[in-house]
């Protein structure tokens, strides 16, 4: 919303010497956020009124004229101009050298210079309306028309801004900061706030009171819950003359476009007091009767652009005897519009309830200024204010107009809200003791009635704040705090009560694991969206029968919410392959599937949530990647102080290679999986020239230890002997099998490498392992060592068919 300071000044006298930026600051801190301050005069510098003394033909151009113009300087100036309506003694707009204008057809401002046009000297430019920001004041009839100021109160040399009342300052208000304040959607409401902030009186609105003995215009409200008040005033002697320049200027500075005086008056009143109103051509209302009713089934409304709008039975319409004239408070219809032959109007100033307007307005992309205001819930008393202000302006502009009929149907009245507030409540919650005079002063300045009795303020909120905005004592406290400015309250330390230290093992575990993956294992943490591209769901063959979907997804292919983090990882991998061919990524996030789960109360059933940790290692050698990923999971428990994980082969994850996957187990429960990404998944996800190992674990299942559980083992008193052993076994003999044979017989067992190739027979492989052996009570002799080694070899040979590999 835009606020004109000239307009505000009609209602209050601002303190002398106060700057617009100070006003913006004070409003921002106490009332609404001011996003910008614009001086509307600046752009008119060096643009003045000129009088054409002489119009001559241009010697070298048929379409140009050479004018001699008096611009209030020592000598008249010669200006070349292509205008279509130049004549002697015409008052025109002249842009002097140094001014900035929109050259026809150009988007950007051009600086005017003294120049020659087709050989003739030209001092500046005689301007058309669009060239000098005046098109809203003087809509041009054709492209070459220049602004003719004849008949307008001005003299040669005057700055144009002064002629058209543009010596103003406009404050740009953030509409979001106004949503709860129906009273601030007009200049008068903001003036009231400023009167409280600067302690200056708020002037009464000008008004014209209606004669109560006028004939009644027939009005019927069929839906009083939706329309709480409707006034209809029939006025003769109205035409489509233009509004006076001062009014046009204010309307333009408040962000609207002047149309004609009668329409401008309705807009002006809306932007003054926040009360929308509407003028119908009175001859278009069939049967001299207004009916406020719900739309009928299959009823249509013909709009201004000739399109038929389908109405629903929820829509409230203003109708005559025959048909709907307009959507109440939202949009006019073709039938109700003011036309060049209009001679009289029916002025509607009415109250429609917020929910009615919101329901109807939902279907339109753009909200009308009227709908925006009704949506905020306007009190019914405002109708009176708006009506009397509008009639005053009509009488001012249409001196010969006459009110011939009137009605005010007022079924439901906004009641002022009454609230009791204890002084103690204010003292504690404000954190500062304020005296009675201060509190009463602040509240009265913005329209509260206050009555103090034995420690309690009995307040009555102003009617314009009583439609929902103010209903609790906290609301009143808020008004006191903001108007005194939050700045006047010191930051108070928090009261501390020591009970016990915060200890949240699961919260810490999550952080530990993230840091373990990032800092120790070299993974980069990623975030992906919960809605997943179909393509990657298909690639990872995720079952979507239990998936949760969005009703209005960001894009059609993004409707499914993730039940695994793998598809998202695939997308990230495929994108990063443009720049990297070796990397590690992980994500921790919630996934969803259909099911029943009650987080807070039995009546609320939510889908199942799981928090997953998913990691991927991308590189060349598939086997290496697999074991790197396996290592990350194997060491996760000991590095992060949680219950041990182990592996089993139970069920193949949908995205995994059939030969290379493991299920991750906690006790007997399967809580995740790791494996190589399948060939299918890679080709579907366009992951080329690399391999990927992936793991996914359900974080919710992990069990953190309450404290560290490391156990101290005595250091060996006698030296251990280290021996490397290379054996040859059949392909199907697993490390699991080999280690089971030896593990209990040695102090320590380590896998060194696996080898196939030269010197190893087909169908066999060589395994190198490293062992540490030793006695607890003595140093091993070489005899003992040899005996131990051959006994180990015997066992290996016996159980695994292992042979010693000859060097």
């Amino acid at each position: 919303m835009k606020l004109s300071l000239n307009w505000i000044k009609k209602y209050i006298d601002l303190p002398k010497d106060i700057t617009p930026s100070q006003i913006a600051y004070d409003l921002t801190l106490r009332t609404v956020e001011v996003e910008g301050v614009e001086n509307t005069k600046d752009k008119f510098h060096d643009i003045v009124v000129g009088k054409i003394l002489e119009v001559k033909d241009h010697p070298n151009a048929d379409t140009l004229k050479v004018c001699i113009v008096d611009i209030g300087e020592d000598t008249p100036k010669q200006i070349v101009c292509g205008g279509s309506n130049l004549y002697k003694d015409e008052l025109v707009v002249v842009s002097k050298p140094g001014s900035e204008v929109y050259w026809h057809g150009e988007d950007q401002l051009v600086k005017i210079k003294e120049t020659k046009m087709r050989g003739e000297d030209s001092y500046g430019m005689i301007c058309g309306a669009t060239e000098v920001y005046l098109d809203k004041f003087f809509p041009p009839k054709d492209e070459r028309e220049i602004v003719d100021l004849s008949g307008i109160d001005c003299k040669v040399g005057d700055n144009i801004a002064d002629v058209v009342f543009m010596d103003d300052t406009v404050l740009e208000i953030d509409n979001k900061s106004l949503t709860n304040r129906p009273d601030l959607w007009g200049h008068y409401g903001v003036a009231r706030e400023l009167s409280a902030i600067y302690n200056v009186p708020l002037k009464e609105l000008p008004k014209f009171s209606i004669d109560k003995d006028l004939p009644k215009y027939k009005v019927e409200i069929k839906e009083p819950e939706k329309c709480n008040r409707y006034t209809a005033t029939e006025i003769e002697g109205i035409d489509t003359r233009e509004a006076p320049l001062w009014m046009k200027a204010l309307i333009i500075n408040a962000g609207m476009r002047p149309i004609n005086a009668i329409v401008d008056i309705t807009n002006y009143v809306m932007m003054a007091v926040g009360q929308p109103s509407h003028a119908f051509d009175r001859t278009h209302v069939e049967g001299e009767q207004i009916i406020v009713r719900n739309a009928k089934k299959n009823e249509k409304l013909l709009l201004l652009d000739e399109k038929d709008l389908d109405l629903t039975v929820d829509d409230l319409v203003i109708a005559d005897k025959e048909s709907a004239l307009c959507l109440a408070g939202v949009r006019g219809g073709k039938k109700d519009s003011i036309l060049p032959d209009t001679t009289g109007v029916l002025l509607e100033v009415a109250n429609f309830t917020a929910s009615t307007i919101r329901k109807t307005d939902k279907r339109f992309d753009e909200k009308t200024d009227s709908a925006i205001r009704y949506e905020k819930a306007i009190d019914t008393e405002r109708v009176q204010e708006g009506l009397e202000y509008a009639l005053y302006l009509i009488k001012e502009i249409f001196k010969d107009s006459k009110i011939i009929a009137f009605n005010d149907v007022y079924p439901i009245k906004t009641e002022r809200c009454k609230i009791d507030i204890e002084q103690d409540f204010l003292d504690v919650r404000l954190g500062k003791v304020l005296d009675r005079k201060t509190i009463e002063g602040v509240l009265k300045a913005i329209g509260y009635d206050v009555n103090y009795k034995s420690g309690v303020y009995h307040v009555t909120a102003p009617v314009w704040r009583s439609t929902g905005d103010v209903s609790l004592k906290d609301d009143v406290m808020g008004d006191i705090a903001r108007l005194l400015s939050f700045e006047s309250f010191e930051a108070k330390p928090l009261p501390v009560k020591f009970t016990k230290a915060v200890k949240q093992n699961k919260v810490s575990l999550e952080r530990n694991i993230r840091e373990y993956l990032a800092f120790r294992c070299g993974f980069n943490e990623i975030f992906t969206y919960p809605w997943i591209d179909d393509k990657y769901i298909k690639a990872s063959k995720i079952d979507i029968s239990k998936s949760v979907k969005l009703a209005t997804p960001p894009a059609p292919e993004l409707a499914i919410l993730r039940s695994s983090l793998v598809p998202g990882a695939l997308e990230v991998i495929s994108k990063n392959l443009r720049y990297y061919n070796e990397f590690r990524i992980f994500e921790v996030a919630q996934v969803f599937e259909k099911g029943e789960y009650h987080e807070s109360s039995e009546d609320e059933t939510l889908p199942i949530h799981k928090k997953l940790i998913t990691g991927a290692i991308v590189g060349k050698n598939a086997k290496d990647l697999f074991f790197e990923a396996k290592g990350v999971i194997e060491d996760m428990a000991s590095f992060n102080h949680m219950e041990e994980l182990h592996f089993e082969v139970k069920s193949q994850p949908s995205w995994a290679d059939k030969n290379a996957y493991l299920n991750i187990m906690l006790g007997d429960e399967e809580i995740g999986a790791l494996g190589l990404l399948s060939y299918f998944a890679m080709s579907e996800a366009k992951i080329k020239r690399v391999n990927v190992a992936i793991f996914e674990i359900n974080f919710d299942k992990l069990v953190p230890f309450a404290s560290r559980t490391n156990e101290f083992v005595h250091l060996p008193q006698f030296p251990l002997v280290e021996k490397d052993l290379s054996i040859i076994v059949d392909e199907d003999v697993t490390w699991d099998k080999i280690s089971k044979v030896i593990k209990s017989k040695v102090k320590n067992l380590e896998f060194i490498e696996e080898y196939r190739g030269n010197q190893i027979p087909e169908g066999k492989k060589s395994i190198t392992l490293r062992i540490h052996i030793g006695n607890d009570d003595s140093t091993m002799t070489s005899d003992e060592i040899n005996k131990k080694m051959s006994s180990l070899m015997n066992s290996l040979n016996h159980v695994c068919g292992a042979e010693l590999r000859e060097e």
């Binding site: 808020g478 928090l494 943490e525 992906t528 990397f583």
Partner: protein, 345 residues
């Protein structure tokens, strides 16, 4: 013969001095003190001399030997202390080997920084699920029935529930605040906790707008606390993020779940509050909303608003991270682009 000895001594000491390596020194030792050395030759040729001469020459020879031994030892010590472990030249201007390691997401980092600050003030860390019902996302928080935020243009409703109401209408949570009621219902008051998390809005994205973004909310519920204590929480956050005390101001703001509500601005760090392009020439930058918990929200959490009060602050983590590092496109956070993420080691 004496002259010869003098020559051997002079020559020998020179050779020792010139030696560069242990090998060379070994050679010199052999040459000077071995069986074929000049000294040995002299001792062998002494038979023709008188007893006195023998004695004199013998002593001299021994003296020289001792001197040689001493000098060789000294030289040895010198060579060892000057010896390099390298056998070949080294270009020490070559780059060092990279330390390998990944990184936490910059938003996670910010979140953990803030957690640390709040843990030190005795706050708990709470988290709530991503999907919520309308009751917890809107009704409990005092949003009007027809509040525009409830429309599908603003909120991601789940398929099949979008036309229902209250506990049956489900959505990806549009803000974290709903979680506060869940936590209070579970654990009651007094309470002080923070809850970081991702929230979702159905909007058009651009460099400043995202459909999924992170919020960090802090909440206190207690008896007899004043709204101005909220300043302490705000200062805590900003000091943690920017490493020094930051000037802040509170001003009027409106949110359905607060009364009074306020917007919190911090002094622009680029111009120090003087006014510049970054702060739109007013010296302040809006960083977060906050406010006293609305009585209706306390009621939804089964708490008596006449007994309990409290306040929220809610900070947009994305925005804060953008300010911390000068990131100019919010969409990078969910891009998974390692060229971006690797910058935050």
């Amino acid at each position: 013969m004496k002259e010869k000895l003098t020559e051997i001594k002079k020559d020998g000491l020179e050779k020792i001095e010139k030696s560069q390596s242990m090998d060379e020194l070994q050679e010199v030792r052999k040459e000077l003190m071995g069986k074929k050395s000049g000294l040995s030759e002299i001792l062998k040729s002494m038979s023709s001399l008188s007893v006195d001469e023998k004695k004199e020459i013998g002593m001299k020879t021994t003296e020289i030997r001792e001197e040689f031994t001493k000098k060789i030892e000294e030289k040895e010590a010198e060579i060892i202390s000057n010896k390099s472990v390298l056998s070949e030249p080294i270009d020490i201007s070559l780059p060092g080997k990279k330390v390998s390691g990944g990184a936490l997401h910059p938003i996670t980092q910010m979140c953990y920084d803030l957690n640390e600050a709040f843990l030190s003030l005795g706050f708990e860390v709470y988290s709530e699920d991503d999907i919520s019902s309308e009751k917890y996302a809107f009704d409990n928080l005092n949003f009007a029935k027809d509040h525009p935020a409830r429309q599908s243009m603003d909120t991601f409703w789940l398929e099949g529930t979008e036309d229902k109401e209250g506990t049956e209408r489900l959505c990806l949570r549009p803000h974290l605040t709903g979680g506060s009621v869940r936590k209070l219902l579970k654990d009651g008051a007094p309470a002080r906790f923070v809850y970081p998390g991702r929230v979702y809005r159905n909007e058009t994205t651009d460099a400043r707008h995202e459909r999924a973004f992170f919020q960090y909310e802090a909440l206190i519920v207690d008896k007899d606390i004043s709204f101005s204590s909220g300043m302490v929480m705000i200062k805590t956050i900003l000091e943690k993020v920017f490493g020094r005390e930051i000037n802040v101001r509170m001003r009027e703001g409106f949110f359905p779940f607060t009364e009074p509500g306020y917007e919190i601005d911090m002094e622009c760090l680029v111009c120090g509050g003087k006014g510049c392009k970054v702060c739109n020439h007013n010296g302040w930058i809006e960083v977060m909303p906050g406010g006293v918990i609305h009585p209706n929200v306390l009621k939804a959490a089964n708490l008596d608003p006449n007994v309990w009060t409290g306040f929220y602050i809610n900070i947009g983590l994305d925005r804060l991270v953008m300010m911390r590092y000068g990131v100019d496109d919010v969409r990078l956070f969910h891009s998974g682009d390692l060229r971006f993420l690797k910058q935050f080691k």
